[in-house]
Amino acid sequence: MSGDEGDAELVAAARGGENGAFSALVERHWARLVALARSIAGDGEAEDVVQECFLTAWRKLGALREPAAFLAWMQRAVARAAVRRARWRSLARPLGAIAEPADPRPGPSAGEWPVAALLARLAPRQRAVMHLTVVEGMSDREIGARLGIDPASVRAHRRRARERLRPLLAREGAAAARS
């Protein structure tokens, strides 16, 4: 998960001033990074967060020591920016009133988990850990490297997230069984 084939060449070309190479990097990783930001900061903020991270990445491309690790570098930037954005949003709104911005696509049908609502009950870093564990399938060490925390903290975040979700899942399960 540390790098995608071809990233090193694209990074080298972008460093050489090729705008097209950087655009290719954006196109390659956009969806994956948006998914990460969406799990952490929600639908309404995710794409802005990722776009800002790409703009910063362009300016700091010279500082990237391992061009092949471009994706890992971006995941780290996006995860941290999304956590910051989510924390800021939760400060700006009263706790408990945090609702996901309206998504024009149809919501979960009967029997489906309301994932966005469940994630909203977790702390931003717990959401990041859940996404990187479940969706990206990363090890605790890899997750720790992305979030700037040690593997033990990753395990603690995951445990707390599961503890918090357990009663909600039981309630959802009971509701699904009734319907």
Binding site: G17, Q51, L55, L119
Partner: protein
């Protein structure tokens, strides 16, 4: 009744499906937008221009510092100190008893007056 493990697995599947939804902006549109923003702000051009700005500022600081050092070298501690009581120094009023005049520089006199403590008995502290 659904078991806890099943619920966890179902949540995992749901999270993966939820995360796999395509973004609102497709990758090509996002790349185009980012490229437009990069070309709209020339400061974002590669190579970054802040590097040159910082280098210029640094060179300026070094030049000013070197200039200051050279000037200090010319009038350093080894050279003769400017005369205190010369024709350039403005005339001061005659000093009274216990008065001291110190010239901080050619134009800045500092007058100090020493007097015994009130009551005529010294407590050991100066004034």
């Amino acid at each position: 009744m659904e078991e806890e493990g099943d619920r966890g697995a179902r949540l995992g599947d749901a999270l993966r499906t939820w995360a796999a939804r395509p973004p609102h902006r497709p990758p090509t549109a996002a790349a185009r937008e980012i490229r437009a923003r990069l070309t709209a702000h020339p400061t974002s051009a590669w190579p970054p221009r802040h590097g040159w700005a910082w280098a210029t500022a640094g060179a300026l600081v070094v030049a000013v510092g070197l200039g200051g050092l050279l000037r200090l070298g010319r009038s350093g501690p080894g050279t003769e100190a400017p005369p205190v009581a010369s024709a350039a120094v403005p005339a001061a009023a005659p000093l009274g008893d216990g008065e001291v005049l110190i010239w901080l520089d050619a134009e800045t006199p500092l007058f100090m007056t020493f007097a015994p403590p009130r009551g005529g008995r010294s407590t050991g502290g100066g004034s």
